[in-house]
Symmetry: C2
Subunit: 174 residues, 2 copies
């Protein structure tokens, strides 16, 4: 997931590590700022795998920067990860949003639509949230105030997401 974000941002333009961190922060808000201990090892992995190239530049008032850019292999890897997401990436909202953030880098609109349709299918399978004795729980019959809240918020999210998915898929298939 972190690797996907790094590849995604580098696909737009070359950046140094610190900038990547700032971009990720801007995308997520300050929910879960990414830590250095995750970021720099991830970059090193991508460089070793030949997906990212680096050249060192004098830093603007600080340590020298490692300016990173995507290689051809890196671009291909990014597109693969977007095209063939793992099931987890489709079922976990958090991950799916990260995927969405970079889905524009998939060149083919049909392939973009296919990813959205996978998510749509998941959201439409029953039992994707909050079941009790095999039956979906309605907000009114939730055992307490707090679970009622969970249900309300979950329902609002899912409703809006389904609406958007339908519109977006239609638009991609214009």
């Amino acid at each position: 997931m972190l690797e996907l974000s790094i590849l995604g941002f580098l696909c737009e333009e070359p950046l140094h590590g610190y900038e990547v961190k700032a971009r990720i922060l801007g995308l997520n808000g300050h929910i879960r700022p990414i830590s250095d201990g995750a970021l720099y090892p991830a970059i090193t992995r991508l460089v070793k795998a030949g997906l990212v190239e680096q050249r060192t530049e004098p830093g603007s008032g600080a340590a020298p920067r490692r300016v990173l850019s995507l290689t051809a292999a890196g671009r291909a890897a990014l597109q693969d990860r977007l095209r063939v997401p793992k099931d987890v990436d489709i079922t976990d909202g958090q991950r799916f949003f990260t995927l969405l953030a970079f889905l524009r880098h998939l060149p083919d609109r049909a392939e973009q639509a296919a990813v959205l349709r996978r998510r749509q299918t998941f959201l439409n399978t029953p039992a994707s949230f909050f079941y009790r004795d095999g039956e979906p729980v309605r907000a009114e019959e939730a055992p307490d105030l707090f679970r009622q809240g969970m249900l309300r918020v979950a329902r609002a999210t899912s409703t809006e997401e389904k609406r958007w998915l339908a519109e977006a898929i239609a638009a991609l298939e214009d």
Copy 2:
């Protein structure tokens, strides 16, 4: 987080591991079903910490069950985790929802309201989501279809959650 769920479910009634797993599945839907490799070690940790007691019963048509129940220390630990959630628990939606699921086990309504208020404060701090150059990005000006979708869904979620929080806090302070 897993430990919180285990403590939370055991607070309602004694259960064996397999049942706990089923409850967690019912709460999350089949998004991220919890794995055995996470569940059983977590139970063992809680037993070692004296928060959970176990007695073995013959299984209904299967291996013998370890029936788990909360100790007094376990109940206290659950309430502590609910009362004094870490910042992560408040800022991460996923974690906050898990917390909500068991918040009814906090005996004091004022303390329940305090937890909700912490979440409310977080949701109202600017920059909690999707910023660019220090400015919040509006859905219309998002760079592409997909990020527009992210924003729409995020906004719908946050709107509904804020509305519910306001109502719930008011209700708790009746």
